[in-house]
Amino acid sequence: MPERILDVKNLKIDFHTYAGEVKAIRDVSFHLNQGETLAIVGESGSGKSVTTRSIIGLLAKNAKVMGGEINFHGQNLLDLSEKEWQKIRGNEIAMIFQDPMTSLDPTMKIGQQIAEPLIKHKGVSKKEAWAKALEMMKAVGIPNAEERINQYPHQFSGGMRQRIVIAIALICEPEILLADEPTTALDVTVQAEILDLMKDLQKRVKTSIIFITHDLGVVAGMADRVAVMYAGEFLEYGTVDDIFYNPQHPYTWGLINSMPTLESQKLEAIPGTPPDLLDPPKGDPFAPRNAYAMKIDIERKPPFFKLSDTHYAATWLLAPGAPKVEPPAEIQRRWAKFKAMQ
């Protein structure tokens, strides 16, 4: 059994708005194993970012944790004071943001920005921190690091800036790295480079990664395990093979089916829009958009059904006695492949 470094249990987060309480995270549980990459996929507004932000204690002012636990090294992070959080942030848990163009302070030298967490957390001298920053710049593949350490963000391209953001996140060798769509704002070619870099550094620094994305293509190359998130809940989770070749929840089917392949004649899409979380549905939140929905899907929330030690899905289709349905052709093709792999 791999060691669990992070254990999130029954997390519930509300957002206070003028319209009322938005139930953004509704009873989410998951864990992160030592050294693995867990991808959380889902469309915009599904609660991926809110979930990760709660793990680093940087929720928006109007967000309120309504219940649950985030266990890290035997302590519940949700009980931490602001002072205690500051010791963890950037040190044991670090984060990479989506847009590298705006993530760096435009008036501060790159070297100083990279060295900052080290000076803050490890109490090293400025000189040592600077040397380590230089080392990090080389590690993330910035050419001419000796010269560029004295430059400012506007002198770097988007891909280079994201490398710098990664250097900042990893300089204290954190145990957990939260990556909130780190490649979304980048060109596709640069994306691949950044993903390779992250995988490479993950091995060197021995960090565990929670990777948020809405791009399943990125997931396949990056993650060990995948959790599918929708309307503030997890619907299915498992290893990359489980999710890509043996998907069980109709929402996961929809996501995979909407990935274009070389044979695609047209782009498939999931019809409809996610539910309004001011008044969340009581059953399976995907039911209104689900062509395979049954009456019970609307009335009762499905529990997680276990498919294997690693694979769980919350859909009534897996209940004993549920009718057999024909998933889309692409899914059936994948199922066949999965059987062959076993």
Binding site: P106, T107, K120
Partner: protein
């Protein structure tokens, strides 16, 4: 950098030339004549005086003569002040205005930055609302109203400072306060907006994710970034304040350049009007140049043309 400076200096000279030209002709179209008690002068006397000051020459000749004189630093002689050269007249009065203006600028900007920053940090609370109210009052109450109130309550009732006059430092306090309220309000409003904007930016969030406390993030990342744009505001303010607030100087009986400017316009004292205008104008273009250079120094994104990139 040298190339950039030369270019800028060329434009400065061009600006000064245009201002001199436009002011000269506008001034000549002003109604009235430079002579007090005009009706008591005989036509001969007026003729003699016109001859003496060169006012009977064609306008274009007057203009060229004036430009020529200015190139030698000669702004002519005042019509009103017993034939004193304008340059020495201005020199004698510029000091008081510059001192008062600088004091008001420093006080106003420092207090404005403090109030604006606090308001931004406490955004949406009563502190923020109070600061906004202060800024609105400061912006909308004319400084001469404030000046009179200060004279009455602090000068007369409390007797802390003398009501008017110039000479001792204590006499500069009331006019400095009166004059600083405008820049204070403007700066506070500006800094609040700028700071709120900066505080919501991604690099502030990243600073927090690095483990910095809220105050550390503000000190290391937010302050510099939100204060930089203030430089553009301070430049023109500095000129406006240093070249004198005519009304404040009048109220406090300060022998400054602003007071003189008003008098010279009322009496059609052409050389003095021109002289003071040119001093304003030189001050403005020089300060704008300095502002741009400072901007380039404190904001790495702005590299002056020809600088390394």
């Amino acid at each position: 950098m040298t190339k950039y400076l030369l270019k800028r200096i060329f434009y400065m000279i061009l600006t000064l030339f245009l201002v001199a030209t436009i002011t000269f002709f506008l001034m000549k179209f002003m109604p009235g004549s430079p002579y007090a008690n005009e009706e008591k002068l005989t036509p001969q006397q007026i003729h003699i005086m016109n001859e003496q000051y060169g006012l009977n020459k064609p306008l274009i000749v007057q203009y060229l003569l004036y430009l020529g004189g200015m190139l030698h630093g000669d702004f002519g002689t005042s019509f009103q002040y017993s034939n004193q050269p304008v340059s020495s007249l201005i020199a004698a009065r510029l000091g008081a205005s510059v001192q008062l203006g600088l004091q008001a600028l420093i006080v106003g900007v420092i207090l404005g930055v403090i109030i604006g920053s606090i308001a931004a940090m406490k955004q949406g609370t009563w502190v923020d609302s109070t600061a906004t109210v202060i800024a609105i009052i400061g912006k909308s109450v004319p400084n001469f109203v404030l000046a009179v109130l200060l004279q009455y309550y602090i000068g007369l009732k409390l007797g802390w400072f003398s009501i008017a006059g110039w000479g001792e430092f204590s006499q500069t306090i009331l006019p400095t306060i009166a004059l600083s309220v405008g820049p204070l309000a403007e700066t506070a409003r500006f800094i609040r907006t700028s700071m709120v904007d900066t505080l919501s930016s991604d690099y502030i969030e990243l600073g927090r994710a690095k483990g910095l406390s809220r105050m550390e993030v503000i000190r290391k990342h937010a302050m510099r970034n939100s204060f930089i744009p203030l430089v553009t505001l301070i430049g023109p303010y500095a000129v406006a304040l240093m070249t004198g607030s005519m009304v404040i100087e009048n109220i406090f009986n300060i022998p400054g350049i602003g007071e003189q400017f008003v008098k010279s316009i009322l009496t059609n004292d052409y050389p003095t009007i021109m002289g003071v205008t040119m001093v304003y104008c030189i001050g403005l273009v020089v300060i704008l140049l300095i502002t741009d250079i400072i901007y380039g120094l404190i904001d790495p994104r702005i590299r002056l043309a020809g600088g390394e990139q």
